[in-house]
Amino acid sequence: MLAVAARRLGSAVPVLLIVSLITFAMMHMIPGDPSTVIGGLSATPAQLAQIRADLGLDEPVLVQLFKWYGGLLHGDLGRSLLMGRDVVAVTLERLPVTVALSLYALVLTLVLGLVFGIVAALRQNSWIDQAAMMLAMLGISLPNFFLGLLGILIFAVHLGWLPTGGYIAFTDDPVGWLRTSTMPAVSLALLQVGLLARITRSTMLEVLRQDYIRTARAKGLPWRLVVIKHALTNALIPITTVVGIIVSLLVSGSVVTETLFSLPGMGQLLTQAVLNRDYPMVQGGLLLTTALLVLINIGVDMCYAVLDPRVRYER
């Protein structure tokens, strides 16, 4: 399996190269450049021209492209034009915030999504099923931006239980991290909870109708054991696929949540970088994020083999 993982990693290299090329092309195709941000609202045209020259933005695009790839070959992703800092260092600073938030949201998604889905499947067409699916639909339908604002209004302004925003790192203060991350994680997770609950319900319903489940029950196995050992285990393959997608959605969904709650993560960093036309930051940051998502996908693929003995990659 390790050889397979290595092969998959190797095949990721062209993907990353294509992503970097597309990112570079798109960033340079959209009008506007960082001079307008550095210069501020009051910059005169002469100042803007001066900033562009200082940053080397008046050089031909091809020259800038070669410089970017030249740096990449040396492992240098460049320096943020606006922050004046190394792209890798900034990314490594911000990534833990997004990873921690995504993991927290993922845990919430898995717990709530699986429980809602399983309970709804086991009590199909009952009021519990209806209630669980209604909640799932609500989660899918409400934008996380709206959910976040609603959360701020209820839990911060009216109840005063949680802060309105800001971020405390887990390593600095775990309780503080929990307080600052709970509302963002919940608003981020609710959409995915709905998605996972619906997939889990339909997959479980399908599995529960299989002959081997009937056989297991006929053998007199306790219902709980049948559900957990036979039904859920078999339902996990499609659920794992969805979880892989959910992880990607959580990372990309963090853009809005991090902005709303003022969390210094990758989502906020890349959004700002795109809006500010910070070319090296967007190019380097997206490359690293893509690498992370590729790794997650490879990890999910590897999970199939663990979950289903019929899946063998080494043939």
Partner: protein
Amino acid sequence: MSLRIPLLAGTAFALAALSGAQAAPFKCPKVGGDFVFGQEANVNSLDQMASNTISTRNIAMNLFEALMTRDENNNPITDLAESYTESPDHLTYTFKLRTGVKFHNGKTMTSADVKASWDRYAKVGLERGMFANVAKWETPDPDTFVVTMKRPQPTFIELISSFSVPIVIVPAEEAEAPAMQLKPVGTGPWQLVEFTPGSQVKLKRFEGYVPNAKYEARTGFGGYKQACFDTVTFRIVTEPGARVAGLKTGELQGVEDLPTKSLDDLKKDKNVTIAPLANWWIQVATPNTSVTPTDNLAFRRAVQAALDMDEIMDAATDGNYRLNVGFQYPNQPSYTDAGKATYNIKDPALAKKLLAESGYKGEPVVLLTNKDYSSMYNAALVMAEQLKAVGIKAELKVVDWPTSVNMQLKPDTGWNFFFTGYGTQPALGALATMQFFMPPNANYKPKGDVSDPELQADWTAMNEKPDAKDRQAAFADMQRAILEKVYALPFGSLTKVQGVRANVQGYTPFRIPRMSNVWFAN
């Protein structure tokens, strides 16, 4: 008896005035606490020499100081300079530095640091064009800094005291840093503790701060400054609703840019003090005079005659505005209403008459705007409707802010009016604002980027007339010419609303939130 009372009152007034003149410098009534300020925009860098953004200035102006700055009324004052003299031939400025001033790294400031800072500014400073007429600067001794000009420039002190992109003084050993990579070590009353881009910037009181004893209180960005809080935290809160929520809960003790819609609710909250900052910026649209039909003066006058500034500003600001003629504010000494007759005409009949005279053939008129700044978008929206009402085929082109700025740099990118706001420059004075209308790339896009001779003559006079009154007269002429030739349509001035918790004392709204001489009452 009736004579004694005024006499006593007069004596008391005289004594009070005398004691005022010799009053003790400001002392913090209460020291301590962490003041958390909700800032609307992210800050990318604290390199005050290389960034012109308000978000950088908000923080950096509390860390750094310069030789000269501006007082509460925008007059140039000394800050790190004790005094300065101008030679009779107006070619040499000699700055005596304040002695014993410490940097945040503990080092004492000398003229070598000033020289290194000016050297760096000449390389990376965004407004280094102000040095075009400077021949050299020297340091004859550790407390003296001498600037020699190539030819007299009466506006030099005005330029170097600008807080737009000030020439902040940093330790010589830090001055080699490339643009955007400056270590934030200054001489200000606050020093950096933590900078997490995208999240927060934390400052603490600089215990080694040496206040400017020439003054007794804070004035503008200078004066006698004292850090009363233990720490100040600038938290980046880009979502307006979250800023309002933070102020209401007390999680934030101060915020900038409160949305107008939330003001009624906040005014009822006894724990919150609203601090409106009038004259935040001038909402403006500039024509592209290189393309039809905006190259036609009669057409531009028709546009000018059609506009109802109240309607435009009301929509642009949700009602938080003041009508304002020209490019300065009435509270500034440089204010003039020259060209007043061209403002807020709102006469559709006249507009139609001028339109007929212009020979307008129904060509599309593109209003280039953006949604990043809602005031610009809303102003464009209303102006388009007013133009349509007089028979002009107005169309909106909505892009994001960086795109619109880049498009307006070139006259051939398909636009007729560009929507923007003049913020810091009007606050700095007439000279700073009028440079928008001068090449290269003058805002009204004259053909071939060749300046209108009348504007060029006024600009030269504004810069070179030795007498301040003559320079002011030249500004008035320039403003009148710009308005009469419709090289800009200034709609009015916009008010920005800041807010603090009621227990915050000494906070006076200013272009940049000043954290010195502000304290918690309890």
